[in-house]
Amino acid sequence: MIVTCPFCGDRPSEEFGVLGDAAPVRPADPAGDPEAWYDYVYLRANPRGAHREYWHHVGGCRQWLVVTRDTTTHDIAAVEPARLAKQTAPEKGEP
C-alpha cells in the first residue's frame, strides 16, 4: 500500500507504524473521573468504514499522522499531521 505523507509524499506503508483509534482525547485532570480515564486508556472504536487512526512515519519524517482509513477497503481518504489534527477532530459521539 502507498500512503501519502503530507511531508514526504507517496511512501510504502511498511515505513509506518500504526497506533490505532485517534478519537480518544486524553482527559485534562489526572484526578478526574476514573471512568473517563478507563475509557481513554482502554476503550477503542472498531467501526466498519471510515476510521481516523494515529500512524507514525517511523521510517521517514518521524511525524505522527492522523490517517482516515476505510476499514473495509483500506482506502485512505485523508492524511494530516497529528499536531494539526486536534483542531479538525470531530466531536465525540460523531462517527
Partner: protein, 984 residues
C-alpha cells in the same frame, strides 16, 4: 504408446534435442517443450498416481491448473515436490519423478485403496480415525501421512538465491494473450507506463495453440508485430515467465518471475525467482479462461484430457495427443479443437456432443455423434476406448480411442478479482462465474470477463484501456483490432453424466467423485465451504481450478438450489503456489534482518569478546582469557570491577537529545518523578510509565544546559521510547516547545567502574576536576578527554561501584577505549561483558528487562516513592488504581538458596508446607545469577507481601529442572546495601 511427435508444426526447436529423465528412464525432447508435452511425445501417458485411490493418472491440462501431472522436479537440495509437469519448461538434463506411487507408478500397492473405495467415501478420515483420541498421534496420523501426501520436500538447505523487487506503473496488464497484447499496445500508444506480465515463456496466450487467422494471416504474425512495437517503446516492461498471483490493498499486486527455473541450475549471477510487488495505478486482468472437464465414468484415465490441452499439444508443441482422438464437447469450442487437430495431422475418432439441437458443424472428418454422451472408459494404465450412449436411439456404442478430449465450457480466470473480497457473479448464458464489481482500479477484459470469442476479447480490452486512459489523463488513440472470423462459442452445461458407469471424478487431485457430493449434502454439509472441507474438493495445490465450478454446480443440483445461491468457495492469494524462498528473498540466515553494531564492535572483538545477539544489537557476553569458559570469565570480570576497575561498552543504551524552552516541563510529563529542580550539570534516575500505569522504561537523564537534556533509555526500548516521546509532543501536547532527536548512533559510551575508577578518569580527562567534592555521584559534565576529544562524563553506576560513563562522538570510541586501557593499565583494568554486568546489577538489586516486563508497577519494584503527586504525567491517573495498591501484589525481593544450589529464573515460590497449585502460588523468580562476590546463587523475585516476609524461608518450586528446594527471602540489594561505594 499413444501420443507421438507430429512431423511438423509447434513452437519447438526441432534442430536441437534435449535429453531428460523421468522415473529413471531417459527420453528426448526439444527446446520449447514442457515436461508434459515431451513425455506425451514419447508415448508416456501414465504420469503419476492419485492422492487417495492411487489411480493411474495422466495429464489433464496444459497449464498451471494441472491437478494430476505433479512430479518431484530435480534432485538433492533442489528437489521440488508437486511441480506441475505442464508448466515445467524442458531443459537438458532435467530429472523428474512421479508421486504417490510405490514401489513404481506402473505397479502401485496403494491402488488397493481403489478396490476398497466403497469403504473410503467422503469424510472417511473424519469418521474412521476419530476414536480413541490417543490413537490419533501415534497410529492414525503417521499411517495417513505415509499413505497419502503428494511429493517429498527436501530437507537440505536451499542452494539458490532469491530476490524481491518493487515496480510502479500506470497500468499493469495481467496476461499476454490477444486481449492483453492489444490492451498493452493501446496503453503504450497513449503514453501510459505499462507492465505486461505473462506466465508463459513467450507471449500470445491461446494464440500459441490455435490456427484461427488474425488479419487473414497466421495469428503469431500479428503477435510479433505487437511485440516489436512494444519492444521499441520506452514506456513498457514486458515480463515473461511472470505469474501475477495476488491482488492486495492499494492495488498492489504480487508477482513471481521465474528467472532460472527453465535452466538446470541458476547461473551464479542470477536469482532463481524474483518476488515482485507491483504498485499499479490501474490494472487490467486478461488472464483468459480455464476449460472445464466433464464428469463421466472413468474420466480420470490417462489419455482423457481437456480439449484445450490436446489442442496445445498438437499446435504449440507438435505432439499428437493420441493415435485415435475423440472429442467430447458440450461447448462449441470443442469443434474448433477437432478441426485444428485434424489440420495438424491428428486422426480423429469421433466428436461426441450431448446436445440434440442444430446441425453438426461441417468439416469434421470423423463421425459426429449428437445427443450422445460418454458413460465410461476402458483401458489399463491408459485409455483404450470409450462407451457411448446415443440417447436419441438408446443404443450403446463402443468407440476405440486412445485420447479423449473434454470440452465442458470455460471458467473465466476470476481468481485475482476475488482476493480482496469481491464475489464472482454467475452468468447463465455462459454457464460460468465472471468477476464481480472490482472498481476502476482493477478491470477485467477478454475471456476472463466472459468474452468467449476473439473479436469480443479485443473489443473489451480496447474499451477498458480507453476508460483507463481517460481517467489518467492520457487519451488513448484509435487502435484497430485485427480482423478475425466469428466463432461459435455456445456452451450448454452438462454438469455430470447421470448414465455414467464407474467412478466419475469431479476433483482429480483429491479423488472426489460425483457420489461424494450428494453424500456430503445428505450428511448436512450443504454449504459450499463445508462441502469443500468435508470432501476436500478444491483443496491442495490446484485449489480446485478445474473442479470448483463442476463441484458446486453438482451440489446445487443435488440440493435443489440455483448455482448463484450455492456460491463459490473463497479464492485467496496466491493464484499459484509460491516458493517460500521467493517470499523470503535475500533475507535468510545472517541476512534475516539488519544487525546493529556498537562503534566499539571491532575493538571488542580484538579484546577477545564473545559476541551475542541482544535484539538487533551484537553485544559482548564476556572476554575469555586462556581456557576460561563464560562462567570463569564472568567471575573474574566481576572480581576485577569490584576489586579494581573495569570498562564496559554501553553505547547501545538509547540516547535521546531533548531541547527547548519547555524541556523540563516535558520531562516532568513523561517521567513519573519530578524534573523541575534538576540543576545544570546533574543527572537523575527517571522512571517512565505507560498511560495504563505500568512501568514502561527507566534510565538516567542529565541536564547539560538550561534548555538541553540528554535522556538515556534501556537498549531494548530505545526505539519505542523515541516514538512515544514524539507522540506525546505531536499528538498530546503540541503546545510544548521541545525538540527530540535520537543520538544513540552518534555517541560511543563506555562505563568505567570500580574502586580505582576515579584514578583512571583523572588521567583521562583534560583537566576536569573529578574529585568527590567537585564531581559527586550524579554529576554530569561536557568536557574533553585525551587531549581534546569532546566528551560527556556522567557519574552514574549500574554495577553499584564508584563508576562513570564517558561518551565521545562515535568515531572516537576506539580512541576512548584504548585511552582508558592505557590510563588503567597500572590499576589492572580489564574490559567486562554483559554477563558480568548482569551479575553485578542483580547483586545490587537494580531492576532490568526481566523485572520491567510490562506487568510490574513502580510500587512492585519498590519505586513507589518516585510517583509524584504534584503534577500530571503519563500514567498518573492509572498508577494509583486500587489493584495497584493491593498488599497481596507480588513485590520485588531478594532470594538466596538456604543450603546451596541453583536458583533459576521462572521458578515459582510457595509457602513452606503448601502443595504446589496456582492458588498456592506466592510469586516467581525474575532474574538469577551466581554471585562471585557472595559465592552463592542470588535471585530477584516477585513475592506476595514480599517486604513483610524478609527472613522467611520459602519453597522454590521448579518442577522442570531442579525440583523443590528452600530459599531465604532478603532485601534485593545484596551488595553494599548502604551504597557507600557509589558515593566513595
Amino acid at each position: 504408446m499413444s501420443g507421438y511427435r507430429l512431423d511438423g508444426g509447434g513452437r519447438i526447436d526441432r534442430s536441437r534435442r534435449l535429453a531428460f529423465r523421468f522415473d529413471g528412464e531417459t527420453y528426448g525432447g526439444h527446446p520449447g517443450d514442457t515436461l508434459a508435452s515431451a513425455l506425451t511425445a514419447n508415448g508416456v501417458r501414465l504420469l503419476g498416481r492419485s492422492f487417495k485411490y492411487h489411480r493411474p493418472r495422466g495429464l489433464l491440462t496444459d497449464g498451471p491448473a494441472e491437478p494430476n501431472a505433479l512430479v518431484e522436479l530435480r534432485g538433492g537440495a533442489r528437489r521440488e515436490p508437486n511441480t506441475r509437469a505442464t508448466t515445467v519448461e524442458l531443459y537438458e538434463g532435467l530429472e523428474a519423478r512421479s508421486q504417490n506411487a510405490w514401489p513404481s507408478r506402473g505397479f502401485d500397492i496403494g491402488a488397493v485403496n481403489g478396490l476398497l473405495s466403497p469403504l473410503l467415501p467422503a469424510g472417511f478420515y473424519y469418521k474412521t480415525f476419530m476414536w480413541p483420541a490417543a490413537f490419533w498421534e501415534r497410529v492414525y496420523e503417521p499411517l495417513i501421512r505415509r499413505a497419502a501426501g503428494l511429493g517429498r520436500a527436501t530437507h537440505a538447505a536451499d542452494p539458490d538465491t532469491y530476490e524481491k523487487g518493487t515496480l510502479h506503473c500506470d497500468l499493469l496488464v495481467v496476461g499476454a494473450g490477444p486481449a492483453g497484447l492489444i490492451a498493452a499496445l493501446a496503453a503504450v500508444r497513449a503514453g501510459l507506463r505499462v507492465i505486461l506480465a505473462d506466465d508463459q515463456p513467450e507471449a500470445g496466450g491461446r494464440l500459441l495453440a490455435r490456427r484461427a487467422p488474425l488479419d487473414e494471416d497466421e495469428p503469431l504474425i500479428w503477435r510479433d508485430k505487437v511485440l516489436a512495437e512494444l519492444r521499441s517503446a520506452p514506456n513498457v516492461r514486458v515480463m515473461p515467465r511472470t505469474t501475477v498471483f495476488g491482488w492486495y490493498d492499494g492495488n498492489l499486486f504480487g508477482a513471481l518471475e521465474r528467472v532460472a527455473d527453465h535452466l538446470l541450475a541458476p547461473p551464479t549471477h542470477l536469482p532463481r525467482l524474483i518476488y515482485w510487488r507491483i504498485h499499479a495505478r490501474r490494472a487490467l486482468l486478461c488472464a483468459g479462461a480455464e476449460e472445464r472437464p466433464l464428469v463421466f465414468g472413468g474420466n480420470d484415465r490417462p489419455g482423457v484430457m481437456l480439449a484445450s490441452a490436446g489442442q496445445s499439444l498438437a499446435l504449440r508443441y507438435g505432439v499428437a495427443p493420441g493415435r485415435r482422438v475423440a472429442v467430447f464437447a458440450t461447448a462449441d469450442s470443442g469443434y474448433q479443437v477437432a478441426r485444428d487437430l485434424q489440420a495438424a495431422g491428428v486422426r480423429l475418432a469421433a466428436v461426441i456432443d450431448p446436445r440434440r439441437d442444430g446441425e453438426a458443424p461441417a468439416g469434421i472428418e470423423a463421425p459426429v455423434y449428437r445427443h450422445t454422451v460418454v458413460t465410461s472408459t476402458r483401458g489399463g494404465r491408459g485409455l483404450a476406448g470409450a462407451q457411448l450412449l446415443d440417447k436419441a436411439h438408446g443404443r450403446s456404442i463402443a468407440l476405440d480411442c486412445d485420447a479423449l478430449l473434454m470440452a465442458g465450457g470455460w471458467n473465466p480466470t476470476v481468481h485475482l478479482t476475488c482476493h480482496r473480497g469481491t464475489k464472482p457473479v454467475w452468468r447463465d448464458d455462459l454457464a460460468a462465474f465472471v468477476p464481480g464489481e472490482t472498481g476502476d482500479a482493477f478491470r477485467v477484459a477478454g475471456a476472463a470477463a466472459g468474452h468467449l470469442s476473439t473479436p469480443a476479447c479485443f473489443a473489451s480490452a480496447l474499451e477498458a484501456v480507453a476508460a483507463i486512459g481517460t481517467e489518467l489523463g492520457k487519451p488513448v488513440p484509435q487502435v484497430t483490432a485485427p480482423a478475425c472470423p466469428e466463432e461459435a462459442s455456445e456452451v450448454t452445461p452438462l454438469w455430470w453424466i447421470k448414465e455414467s458407469k464407474g467412478k466419475a471424478f469431479v476433483d482429480f487431485q483429491n479423488d472426489v467423485t460425483v457420489t461424494d457430493i450428494p453424500l456430503a449434502a445428505a450428511e448436512g454439509y450443504r454449504s459450499v465451504e463445508m462441502m469443500k472441507r468435508y470432501t476436500t474438493l478444491g483443496m491442495a495445490t490446484d485449489q480446485g481450478k478445474t473442479s470448483g465450478v463442476n463441484g458446486l454446480a453438482i451440489l446445487a443440483e443435488v440440493t435443489g438450489r440455483p448455482i448463484p445461491e450455492v456460491g463459490t468457495t473463497t479464492y485467496r492469494p496466491g493464484y499459484v503456489p509460491v516458493a517460500l524462498g521467493a517470499l523470503a528473498g535475500p533475507h535468510v540466515g545472517p541476512e534475516f534482518r539488519p544487525v546493529r553494531r556498537s562503534p566499539l564492535h571491532r575493538w571488542m572483538l580484538r579484546q577477545g569478546a564473545a559476541m551475542i545477539e541482544a535484539g538487533a544489537w551484537m553485544r559482548p557476553s564476556h572476554y575469555a582469557r586462556g581456557e576460561e569458559d563464560w562462567f570463569a570469565a564472568m567471575c573474574r570480570e566481576v572480581k576485577t570491577v569490584r576489586g579494581r576497575v573495569g570498562i564496559c561498552d554501553v553505547s547501545t543504551l538509547g540516547k535521546i537529545d531533548v531541547q527547548g524552552p519547555d524541556a523540563a516541563e516535558f520531562l516532568n510529563r513523561v517521567y513519573c518523578n519530578g524534573w523541575k529542580t534538576l540543576p545544570v550539570g546533574k543527572a537523575r534516575y527517571g522512571l517512565m510509565l505507560r498511560e495504563d500505569g505500568f512501568v514502561y522504561d527507566d534510565g538516567t537523564t542529565s541536564r547539560l544546559g538550561e534548555r538541553h537534556y540528554l535522556m538515556t533509555t534501556t537498549t531494548a526500548n530505545a526505539a519505542g521510547v523515541m516514538a512515544h516521546l514524539e507522540f506525546c509532543l505531536q499528538a498530546l501536547w503540541p503546545e510544548l516547545d521541545v525538540q527530540v532527536a535520537s543520538v544513540t548512533d552518534q555517541w560511543g559510551q563506555i562505563a568505567l567502574a570500580g574502586p580505582q575508577a576515579r584514578a583512571v578518569l583523572a588521567k583521562l580527562v583534560d583537566g576536569l576536576d573529578v574529585s568527590n567534592a567537585a564531581f559527586p555521584f550524579l554529576a554530569a559534565a561536557e568536557t574533553t578527554v585525551l587531549g581534546g576529544i569532546p566528551a560527556r562524563v556522567f557519574r552514574i553506576s549500574f554495577s553499584g561501584e564508584l563508576a562513570y560513563e564517558i561518551a565521545v562522538p562515535a568515531d572516537y570510541s576506539e580512541e576512548l577505549a584504548e585511552g582508558l586501557m592505557r590510563c588503567g593499565a597500572a590499576f589492572g583494568i580489564a574490559p567486562y561483558g554483559g554477563e558480568a554486568l548482569s551479575t553485578m546489577r542483580i547483586e545490587k538489586g537494580h531492576p532490568a528487562g526481566a523485572e520491567l516486563d510490562g506487568r510490574t508497577t513502580a510500587q512492585d519494584l519498590g519505586l513507589g516513592k518516585l510517583l509524584s503527586s504534584k503534577k500530571d504525567y503519563i500514567g498518573r491517573a492509572m498508577c494509583r488504581r486500587e489493584a495497584f495498591e493491593d498488599p497481596e501484589r507480588p513485590v520485588l525481593v531478594g532470594l538466596k538458596p538456604v543450603a546451596g544450589g541453583k536458583l533459576r529464573a521462572g521458578a515459582h515460590l510457595l509457602t513452606a508446607g503448601d502443595t504446589p497449585s496456582v492458588e498456592a502460588d506466592q510469586g516467581w523468580i525474575a532474574s538469577s545469577c551466581y554471585s562471585p562476590t557472595l559465592e552463592s546463587y542470588l535471585a530477584l523475585a516477585f513475592l506476595k507481601r514480599g517486604r513483610a516476609r524478609i527472613g522467611e524461608e520459602l519453597v522454590v518450586y521448579d518442577p522442570l529442572r531442579e525440583g523443590l528446594y528452600t530459599g531465604l527471602v532478603c532485601d534485593p540489594v545484596f551488595v553494599d546495601p548502604e551504597h557507600e561505594r557509589l558515593h566513595a
